[in-house]
Subunit: 225 residues, 2 copies
């Protein structure tokens, strides 16, 4: 079964909540930019309000169509509180570099971030939930799902999958060298960017793994730095 | 001037807000664990409530003593809203690996995260603020601050530095191989961890930099992957 992913608009809504004020030259509302950031990240921060208090849960997520998804234990505070349809702020931030400017003031980060406002709902339909979990696993390690046994009924009950439609969404992206003031450009100080990225190390096999299992080919497609 | 960093307790308060329920074997409240995670991260997520709606700002942060700090434009929404002392949820999450278990259910991330609840205050004292900005720069790139011109009065006014005392704080840490069910241990599937880490690339000099400036020695101390 195909989930009702909807069709993502060319650009997301710029509302009072989602419109970026500071450094708005960095703001992007178009689908390409927003999806690009979302598809590059692995961990999101889900914020919600309970009893007037803000809470944040950091967790794995994935995107499909115009929805972001995350999962958790059916018994978790986050799932129980967010599942009732309260306002959610969904946030992803990727650090790309430390920007060393000629003044302290213009030091910065290069980054790609997305913030989405909306409400989340729990996926109740079992087939749809299974499809979502498959998409999640395949996104992390393409080729993995087919090797795994099917989830048990109990595991499916213990797992909640949340979905939030992307509507009011903004990406904010800073790239490139420092933006120094004109009068600082000749300062006798090194200026530039110290780039950062997420790197994968060599896979570490579980010491308890049964004998004779080779490292799967799908792990060989990951770029190790 | 030394900021009033306070003395961090041996362990942080386990309150109704901060106590970890799910997978509480991963919970840590001791200073060593909490500070270890905070000192390893570069970006935090600051959540607050405005008009019943949760907002999250991802930004740079640093820790000193029993306080976390972050900064922003004095005119930013986040600074204006958080500066009045509303409840804040401060969150940092570091991804250390993708855990490939023998069942989909036990797939996981290795991670280190910290969540702190409290209120933030803006640092008003100019000397204290300057000291904090120096600590921030030196934390990012030790040795950098001494090379930079002093901030101007206007730059200091345009920059707000926020401080939040660490009181109700919990770290959550998952490490090591998958935790599979006993009946899955002999499954014919590769199990283990795909480790991830933040890597730095070679420094990229600003093409507009004036001639004859060598790459500073302090950039050579950073480990490039």
């Amino acid at each position: 079964m195909t989930p009702p992913d909807g069709t993502a608009p060319d650009a997301y809504a710029k509302t009072d909540r989602s419109r970026i004020r500071r450094n708005n030259v960095r703001a992007r509302y178009d689908r390409e930019a927003v999806h690009g950031v979302l598809d590059a990240g692995l961990m999101c921060h889900v914020a919600y309000v309970f009893d007037g208090q803000p809470y944040v849960t950091s967790t794995a997520y994935w995107r499909s169509g115009a929805y972001v998804y995350w999962h958790g234990s059916s018994a978790s505070r986050m799932i129980r509180r967010v599942g009732v349809g309260v306002p959610v702020c969904f946030s992803v931030a990727l650090l790309d570099g430390v920007v060393l400017a000629r003044s302290g003031f213009h030091h910065s980060f290069n980054y790609r971030s997305v913030v989405a406002y909306g409400t989340a709902e729990e996926i109740e339909d079992t087939d749809e939930k299974l499809h979502a979990l498959e998409a999640f696993t395949e996104r992390l390690v393409p080729g993995r799902w087919a090797e795994l046994r099917a989830p048990t009924e109990q595991e499916m009950k213990a797992t909640a999958v949340m979905r939030m439609e992307l509507r009011e969404v903004a990406a904010k992206i800073r790239q490139g060298p420092p933006s120094d003031d004109a009068e600082d450009m000749d300062a006798p100080v090194w200026a530039g960017v110290l780039p950062t990225h997420r790197a994968f190390g060599r896979p570490e096999a579980d010491p308890a793994m049964r004998q004779g299992i080779r490292e799967p080919d799908y792990l060989k497609h990951i770029r190790f730095d």
